[in-house]
Structures are given as C-alpha cells and as structure tokens.
C-alpha cells in the first residue's frame, strides 16, 4: 500500500482544497510582484515598503503569539498586546536601573516567559474548560488590569527607550534603508526562528504540538498537557515581548497605548493568515504592515480611515476564504 505525500496531499490533509490553495498562491504572487515592481519603479514606494516590512515584522511577531496561544488553548488572548507593552516597560525600567540595552532585553524575555506561564496557570487554567466566554472575558479583564497597572506605576507621559540600532542608514540604489529597520526585522525574525526550531526539533516542542493537536491522545503518552499549555503561554509572551520592544525602536516612545493599535493589526494578521497557521500569522503581519504603510503614504487624506480600510480588505478576503489564507477549514466532527 503506497501513500502519496505530494504537497497537494499535504494541503488536503490540512483541509485546504485545491481551489482555495490556487487562489492563495495567485494572490500572494500577485502581491509580491506588485511590490517588486513598485520598489524598482519608485524610491518612495521602496522606502515605504521597507518600513512596512519592519513594522509588519512586529505585527507578525505579535500575531504569532496570538496563534500560538490559540492553537494551544483555543482562545484569543486579548491581553497579548498589553502584556507586550508591560514587558517593554519592564525593559525600560531595567535600563533606568543601569542595565545595558541587550542585558535588559534578555532579562525581559526571561521575565516575560515566567509571566506568561504564571498567567496561564493562575488565570486561564481555572476557567478554560468551564466556559468559553469566561475565558474571553478573563483576557479582557487582564487587558484592562494591565493597562491600569502600567498607568499607575509609570504614568501616561512619554518615556524614551533608546534604540540599540542607531540612526545611520544604508543607501541601496537610491533608497535609504535605515539600520534600525533591518535590526527590527532581524531580531523579530530571529525570535520566530528560535521558537519554530524549538517546536520542530525538541522533545518538549513535540509535546507542545501534540498537546495542542490532541490533548487526550497526548496525555496517554505521558505528556503533561496542562504544563504544555502553560509553556505555550510562556513562549507567546516572549514573542510578544520581542514584538513590543521592536515595535518602534527608533526612539521607543513609550506610552501605555503603545500596543493597542498593534494588537488590532496583529489580530487581523492572525486571522488573515489563518488562526492555526504560524506561517500565516507572519505572512499576514508583513502583508498588513506593508499595506498600512503604503496606504498611509499615498492616501494621507484618509488617514483616520486607514484602520477601517484595512479591515474592509480583510473582511473581503475572509468572505472568500473564511478560515484565512493558510488556515485549515474547521471540520466539525459530528
């Protein structure tokens, strides 16, 4: 008995039909080509695109955190952005206390991990199996709570966290590419790769994937499912922390509202990519980042409508493909 595993079969196994796969590939190729042509044709287009990619990386990182948690616990963590904002303030405080930027960076990641894990154990675990809406509301409550705490401890005035990347830039064919954009992209990319490798190659990562896929079967092989979920939250918090720190690193202008718009875009990116697709989240983030930058650059008169506009486009895509670009069609077992 031979089993074929062509790429198409793998897609089918993921519930993505042939038709929609074609649509997605066509869409992405068209978008990539448009960007390429635009970049070659106009320096302004190119620099906006670079900016978009850099910001999009942060959206993608946050979106990946959302997807991670969604895959593990089937909830959207509405507090993900606020958590990222909180950890960014923690980094700020560490720098104020004398640590160098990178020391603070890694310390913050460790703190974020512990915080994420603790939150899952203390707050999510008790309600997770009782009620979907209770779990949603708990994250909403967390959103409000964290917002309040940050305002209370640090106040709402703007704080500055110096970027480690400096203000220099490279000149590539007439387009000015700032070091910091490359840095942003690099750091987020590195964190995504590290987390990916963790999931793909380590035993713990396999356990986490198994726990997310089939918790009952996973516990039968000895995987402590609840701990895997907690770890998932921990790593999601780390990704969020990186996204927060890389969000506006030119001079990180910290205000408590830092990540609120980012959450909106990250949520959109996660849904666009398909809520159970990590790759989709990253692609979605980049796509939205570029889209919003280009929109803002070329149509500044509708700047107050750029969020609704982005959403309108997102909605259109979802109507065609409700489970997102790379998402699996939800098969409800009867």
């Amino acid at each position: 008995m031979e089993a074929v595993t062509s790429p198409l079969d793998l897609l089918r196994a993921r519930g993505i039909g042939f038709g929609s796969a074609i649509v997605v590939y066509v869409l992405l190729t068209a978008a990539a080509l448009t960007l390429l042509v635009g970049c070659l044709a106009s320096a302004r287009f190119a620099s906006l695109t670079v900016q978009g990619v850099a910001v999009g990386a942060a959206y993608g990182g946050l979106a990946l955190a959302l997807v991670l948690i969604y895959r593990a616990t089937h909830v959207i963590n509405y507090a993900q952005g606020e958590l990222a904002m909180l950890t960014t303030y923690v980094a700020y405080q560490l720098v104020q206390w004398g640590l160098s930027y990178w020391e603070a960076f890694f310390a913050t990641l460790a703190i974020a991990f512990l915080l994420g894990t603790a939150l899952q154990v203390a707050i999510i675990r008790p309600v997770q199996h009782r009620s979907v809406i209770a779990t949603v509301i708990v994250t909403v409550g967390l959103f409000i709570l964290i917002d309040g705490i940050v305002n209370w401890i640090w106040g709402a005035d703007i704080k500055v966290l110096q970027s480690p990347f400096g203000t220099a830039s490279w000149d590539v064919g007439g387009v000015e590419i700032q070091h910091l954009y490359v840095g942003m992209l690099g750091v987020v990319f590195a964190s995504v790769v590290v987390v990916w490798a963790l999931f793909r190659f380590t035993k713990v990562g396999l356990g986490m994937r198994a726990a997310a896929l089939r918790p009952a079967a996973a516990s039968l092989v000895g995987v402590r499912v609840e701990w895997m979920l907690a770890l998932g939250w921990g790593f999601a918090a780390v990704l969020g922390a990186v996204a927060g720190l890389m969000y506006e690193p030119s001079q990180l202008l910290l205000t408590p509202t830092l990540m609120q718009q980012a959450l909106v875009f990250a949520f959109a990116a996660a849904v666009l990519g398909g809520l159970d697709s990590p790759g989709g989240a990253v692609v979605g983030g980049l796509a939205i980042g570029v889209f919003v930058e280009l929109l803002g650059g070329y149509l500044p008169q509708v700047i107050s409508l750029n969020v609704p506009f982005a959403f309108a486009v997102l909605l259109a895509i979802l109507l065609v493909k409700p489970s997102g670009l790379f998402g699996r069609r939800e098969v409800s077992r009867v």
């Binding site: 969604y70 959207i76 707050i123 008790p126 309600v127 009782r130 009620s131 979907v132 809406i133 209770a134 949603v136 509301i137 708990v138 909403v140 409550g141 967390l142 959103f143 409000i144 709570l145 964290i146 917002d147 309040g148 705490i149 305002n151 209370w152 709402a156 909106v264 949520f267 959109a268 849904v271 809520l275 509708v302 107050s304 409508l305 969020v307 609704p308 959403f311 997102l314 909605l315 979802l318 109507l319 409700p322 489970s323 939800e330 409800s332 009867v334």
Partner: protein, 311 residues
C-alpha cells in the same frame, strides 16, 4: 428567563424599588441608577446574542454609537421627540444588525470576534471622516436636553418593556431555536432549524437593543453624541456585562448591568491612587476575579444557590 420566570413577587419588588428610588436618592445617584438602566438594556440584548445564540461580539458599542447619533441628529435637525428617536434607533439598528449578522454566519468564534472588533474600531471613526453631517470630533448636539429623572424613567421603562419583549421572544419558538443553536449547532441544523435565520435574528435583536441603549446614553450625556464616548472599551464593557450576567436570570442581567455601570465609577473613589488608573486596576482585577469565581456569571451563582437550598 427560560425556566424560571422571575416570581411575580420579585418583579413587583423590583418595580417598587425602582419607582421609589428617584425620590430617595440624590440627583447624582439618580443619574447613576439611570446609567445602570441604560446598561441593562444593552446587556440584555447582548446576552441574547452571546448567551442564547452563542455568538461573541466585541462590537456592540458600534450599535450604541449608531443609536446615539440617530437621536442626536434627529433632534438637532428635525427636533424629533426623543421617544420617537428611540424607536428609530431600535428600527435602524435592528436592520443594521441583520445586515451585519448575515455575513457573520460564515465566521465562527474568534473570527466573529475580529469582525465585530473591526466594527467597534471603525464606526467611531466615521464621524471624523464625514464631519459635516456627523459632527467630527466636536460631536453632535441635540436640541433637547432632559433631566436626570427623565432619563431614569425612560431608561427603566425601556428596560421593562424590552425585558418583556425578550421574555416573549425567548419562550417562543425563537427562544427554543436559540438555545438549540447554542447547545449544538450541528444538532440544531440536523433537526431542521434554519440556523442562518435565527443567528441573524439574534444579531438584529441585540443590535436593536444596543441602539436604544445608545440613544438613552446620548440623552444622559446632555444630548451630546461624541466619538470618544463610543470607543472599543464600551464594547468590551458590554461584553463583560453580558458575561457577568450569565444566562437565564433577570437578577443576573441586573447584576451585570450594575457591575459595568457602577463599578468603574465606584472604583474611582478607591484610595488606590484616586486617579482614573486606579479605577482600571480595580475594575480589571474585579473582572478577572469574578470570572474566575463565577464562570457562569451571576445567573450561575443563583442556580447553584437554588440547588443548595433545594438539597
């Protein structure tokens, strides 16, 4: 509301208290009580959507905005009677809710949350774009303003009427259909319930209720409709209220409405910092704690207490 019609006695008691309150409380407290009434209407509507038909919306603040602006604009341009504007808000939001509910059928769970979230973020932006008609950041001022007592009366009368309406809907075929959809969509479809009709209907009804609440909301803020009044936070508060309320209990809805109507105001005076942010810390913490302790909301608590009493 389904299996236990609040005993006639408790209805009379509540009604009695409500009638007496304006004469006992200071003007400020009357306006607070009016706020609870306004939230009662909105939470009631949202409770039908989330609790009974199982769809989560974090965008009902948008419908409140639409209802509120309807009132303000009709009053500003046509000097329409305020009660009439409430009816208009009901009708307009019902239709809009049906329109929104229709594509929402293709989405479930988290996707629906995002779509309604998009609504919550986008609708308050609209006045900024069409500032001539919709007043921009300056807002729209209605020509008539009303007293706290008027609002109190209007809010609680509307609450009573709409509660009765909800009760009538939920005990009928629609109610059974809603519950079937919530418990199991697959089973509901299999037993012939036209899912799309009832899910869309639930959306329409909840939107209409939110519209009326929005109209009252604007009237309560001196007839002034402003984009900042209808931010995403409002939608979140409504959802919190619906969740705290839990399912199937009048008292639950009251508790939910009181929770989101009063707690933020009360926690401002908590000597934490006395600032707005102390309020958020306390409110956020309370939300988390309440959900941890009562995942089924206040109604769940009542059900458990009743079971204990019976045992």
């Amino acid at each position: 509301m389904r299996s236990h019609v609040p005993a006639l006695g408790s209805i009379v008691a509540v009604a009695g208290v409500l009638v007496a309150l304006p004469f006992l409380l200071s003007s400020y407290n009357v306006s607070l009580a009016a706020q609870v009434g306004i939230y009662f209407v909105a939470v009631l509507g949202l409770n039908i959507l989330t609790g009974y038909s199982g769809q989560i919306s974090i965008g009902h603040g948008a419908f409140m905005a639409i209802g509120g602006y309807t009132t303000a604009i009709m009053s500003r341009d046509h000097h329409t009677n305020l009660v009439v504007t409430m009816l208009m808000a009901f009708a307009i939001c019902f239709v809009l809710g049906l329109i929104v509910g229709l594509p929402a059928l293709r989405f479930s769970g988290a996707y629906l949350a995002l779509v309604t979230f998009a609504l919550a973020v986008s609708v308050p932006e609209l006045p900024l774009q069409w500032s001539t008609f919709l007043g921009g950041t300056g807002g729209v001022q209605s020509t008539t303003t009303v007293s706290d007592r008027w609002i109190y009366g209007a809010a609680w009368t509307a609450s009573a009427i709409l509660f009765l309406l909800a009760w009538l809907i939920l005990r009928g075929r629609a109610g059974r259909a809603f519950r079937a959809v919530r418990d199991s969509e697959i089973a509901a479809t299999a037993s012939g319930i036209e899912l799309s009709v009832y899910k869309t209907l639930a959306f329409g009804i909840s939107a209409a209720y939110a519209g009326v609440a929005g109209a009252l909301f604007v009237m309560a803020t001196n007839g002034f409709a402003q984009p900042t009044e209808f931010s995403v936070i409002l939608s979140l508060q409504l959802l919190i209220g619906a969740a705290v309320a839990g399912l199937g209990s009048l008292w639950g809805i009251l508790a939910g409405a009181a929770f989101v109507g009063l707690l933020p105001k009360v926690s401002t005076s908590v000597p934490l910092t006395g600032t707005d942010h102390g309020r958020d810390v306390v409110f956020g913490l309370m939300v988390v704690l309440v959900m941890l302790v009562l995942p089924e909301g206040f109604a769940g608590l009542l059900a458990r207490l009743k079971a204990l009493v019976r045992a």
